[in-house]
Subunit: 395 residues, 2 copies
C-alpha cells in the first residue's frame, strides 16, 4: 500500500569504496530533489559512525555540475566506514533520525549495510515511527544475493581484465611465471574477470584459482609445470581468499581487520608465498617468478570505469529514492538482467532480509571441473558488464 512519508532523508556510504559508488549517491540526491515529500537531504559522513555523531552535510544546494564531478570520482565522497553496528548503536542511530525528523534512510553498501538498514527498519516498525529505509547495493566482490550483479563490480572487473591483458603482454615479452593476487575473500567473481584478458589461445591468465574451490598446493604446482610446458610461460590469477581443505588461508600477514577478519588485502604475503611455492615446483631449474598483489588500486582507479556500471550505479540510487518516495516501503534495490546481447537490465525491489547478512559465491557452472579456470558460461555472464576491451595487436 502506497504511503507517502514527509520528512528529511539521510544517505550514507559504507564498506570498501568502488569506482562508481558516488554515481549511486548522486543518483539518489538528484532524484530526492524532485520529491516534495523529501524536505531535506542530509549526507552522513562515514556512514553509521557519522549519523551517531550527527555529522551531516546538507546536500540540497550543491550544483549539478559539482555533483556530476563527484559522481565521476571514485571512492565514497561522503566517507565510508567499516562497522557492523550492534543493537545499541542502531538505537542511537534511530534516536538521531527521530531528533532530526528523518523519514528516509538510504544506505549504499554491501550485505552488512543491508543488515544495518534492516535492523533500523525493524526498530522503526516496533516504535510505530513512519520511516522508510532502502539499501542501495555496491560491492566490487559481486557477492550480494538476489541481484544479477552488484554496482561497483564491473568497473573493478574491468581494471582486473585490463591489468591481466597488459601484464600478459609483459610476460609474453619477458617470459616467466607470474602470480597476480586479486581481491575477493569468499567470492571469486573479481579474480574470474581476469579471463576476459584472453584474446587468443596462448594468452594468459593460464590458470585461475578461486575461493570457491579448495586450493591444493601439489595440484597448483603441477598445473604450473603443465602450463609452462605448454606455453613456455605462465600467468596466474589467484583470489586473495583461497583456502586449504580445512578452510585456512594459504598465507596472510597475520593481521586482522576492524571486523576481526584476517587481513588479506594491503599485504604482499600471499603473492610472496605463492611465488616461493612456484619456485619449489621447479627444483634445480632457473625460473623467473614474480608476484604482484593488485591491492586497493582495483577498486578506486580513476578512468577505468565500465560505462554500464556507471549507468547502473546511478540507476540504483535513483530507483531507491523514487521507490521510497512513492511507496514508503523498505527494501533493497536489485538488478535484473533482461538480455545479455544487447545488454539490458532493470531495477526492482527485494526485501531487506533477502540481501542482509549472507553473501553469495560463484555458481558451479562458472568454474571448470579441474577448479583452475572459468567456463564459457562465466564469460557470457561477465563480458557485457565489463564492456568492450581494447584489441591486442600482435606481429
Amino acid at each position: 500500500m502506497a504511503k507517502q512519508l514527509i520528512g528529511k532523508m539521510v544517505i550514507g556510504q559504507s564498506g570498501g569504496p568502488t569506482a562508481v559508488i558516488n554515481q549511486s549517491l548522486v543518483g539518489a540526491i538528484l532524484a530526492a530533489r524532485k520529491h516534495a515529500c523529501i524536505t531535506g537531504i542530509l549526507g552522513a559522513h562515514h556512514g553509521i559512525a557519522g549519523i551517531m555523531k550527527e555529522d551531516f552535510i546538507d546536500l540540497t544546494t550543491q550544483s549539478v555540475e559539482q555533483l556530476e564531478l563527484v559522481a565521476a570520482t571514485p571512492a565514497a565522497a561522503l566517507g565510508s566506514v567499516r562497522l557492523k553496528p550492534g543493537r545499541a548503536e542502531c538505537e542511537k542511530v534511530f534516536e538521531v533520525f527521530k531528533k532530526h525528523d528523518v523519514r528516509y534512510f538510504f544506505y549504499v553498501g554491501g550485505n552488512d549495510s543491508a543488515e544495518t538498514a534492516h535492523i533500523i527498519a525493524e526498530m522503526a516498525k516496533e516504535a510505530n515511527y513512519d520511516f522508510c529505509t532502502v539499501h542501495i547495493p555496491k560491492t566490487i566482490d559481486n557477492d550480494l544475493k538476489v541481484t544479477d550483479h552488484c554496482p561497483g563490480f564491473a568497473s573493478a572487473a574491468r581494471f582486473v581484465a585490463l591489468a591481466f591483458m597488459g601484464d600478459d603482454r609483459d610476460n609474453n615479452a619477458l617470459p616467466g611465471i607470474k602470480v597476480n593476487v586479486v581481491m575477493g575473500r569468499s567470492a571469486g567473481f573479481l579474480t574470474a574477470a581476469a579471463a576476459l584478458a584472453r584474446q587468443s589461445e596462448t594468452d594468459g591468465p593460464h590458470l585461475i584459482y578461486l575461493p570457491e574451490r579448495v586450493f591444493n598446493v601439489a595440484s597448483f604446482q603441477q598445473d604450473v609445470r603443465d602450463a609452462v610446458a605448454k606455453y613456455g610461460r605462465c600467468v596466474i590469477a589467484v583470489s586473495e581468499g583461497i583456502t586449504d581443505k580445512d578452510g585456512n588461508p594459504i598465507s596472510t600477514s597475520g593481521e586482522r581487520d576492524s571486523h576481526g577478519n584476517i587481513q588479506l588485502s594491503g599485504s604482499g604475503a600471499l603473492g610472496d608465498t605463492l611465488a616461493a611455492l612456484v619456485k619449489a615446483a621447479f627444483p634445480g631449474e632457473k625460473v623467473r617468478v614474480r608476484a604482484d598483489t593488485f591491492g586497493y588500486l582495483q577498486r578506486s582507479f580513476p578512468t577505468i570505469i565500465s560505462p554500464i556500471d556507471a549507468k547502473e550505479a546511478r540507476q540504483v540510487g535513483d530507483f531507491a529514492v523514487n521507490h521510497a518516495a512513492t511507496t514508503g516501503a523498505p527494501g533493497s534495490v536489485s538488478i535484473r538482467r533482461l538480455s545479455s546481447v544487447p545488454y539490458q537490465s532493470e531495477c526492482f525491489i527485494t526485501p531487506l532480509s533477502s540481501v542482509a547478512r549472507e553473501a553469495t559465491e560463484m555458481k558451479d557452472e562458472y568454474i571448470n571441473a579441474a577448479g583452475n579456470d572459468v567456463t564459457q558460461a562465466w564469460l557470457d555472464y561477465v563480458a557485457p558488464l565489463v564492456g568492450e576491451l581494447p584489441k591486442i595487436g600482435r606481429l
Copy 2:
C-alpha cells in the same frame, strides 16, 4: 658526412617493456618502408638473444592497420630480453648481421641497450663494415642521459598519478596509513610522479621517498606521525630502490634478477616491511596500515597512455630510421623540450657513448630539503608529459 648504406635493417626491443615501446617499433617500420636503401626489415625476437639465433620476423608486409594495432598495444611485441652481452656475444651478433647483409641496426631500449648498440657499432668500424646502428630510447625509469625525458616514462607516470589519485580518495573515505611502492631502482622519477595526484592541500601522497636520498627509518616514522597529526591519515609514495646510509636496500625478497641485481619488483617484501615500521611508530595505538606494491601493472597497462608519450615514442622510432637512412651515422635519439606551455619538443641525435651504460637521477632542485617530497620545479617538468588528469569531485 652523409653516406647512404644499402642493405637490410634489424630492429629489436630490449629491457623492461613500456606502454608505448611498440609505437617506436611501428614508427621505425613505417619510416623504413619509405627508404629504398633499406632492402628488408627484420624484427628480432627477444632482442640480442633472437639475433644470435637468427630468430627473425619479416616486417615488410604487415598491413598498416595491423601495425597500428600493435603500436597501441603495451609491452614489446617482438619480445624483449634482459641481457648485457659480452664481447663474444656482440661478435656473434655482428657475424649474423654480415651473413644477412644487415646494414642498419635499431635497438629500442635503455642505457644497456645503447651500450650494446655502441659495442656493435665499434666492431663494424674496426672491421670496415659499412654499418649504422641507432639506439631508440625507452624506459619507464626516465634515467637516460642527455634526453629531456624518455619515451615510456610519461605513460607509467600517468598510471602512477592516477593510481595515487584513486587510492588517496579511497584512503580519504576509510582513513588510515597507506604505503604504495613504486618502481625505480636508482632514479625516483616514477615515484615522484605520484605528486601529480594532488589537487588540494589535503590530498595525498603526503610523503614521497626517493632513491636519490638516504632513507632513515626514524625520520620516516616521525614524518608519518606528523602527517597523521595534520591530516588524520597518510598516503605515502616510496620508490622500490630506497636504501639506507650504507646503500643497502631497506628490504628485499633476497632474490636476484638475471643481471645479478637484487630483485626489487615482483615482491611485496618492501611494502610489508614499511607497513611494519609504520605500525611500530604508533606503539599501543590501533592504526590501520596497508601497503600495496604497484608492480608490473605500471609499465604495461592498456588504455593508461599519455598522448604525448605515444606521439614521441612514435617520433623517436621514425627519427632514428630517417637519420640512419639519410646520414649512415650511428647515434642515440634524444628529445629536446622546446617549451612546456604549450608543450613542444624535437628529436636530435647524440653519440651512443653519451647515453650508453650510465644513467641519471633526479636533479636536486626536484627534491625538497627534507627529502620527503618533491618541488614545484618537478611538477612543472613532469605535468606536461603526463597530460591532463581527471578533476577530483568533492562535497
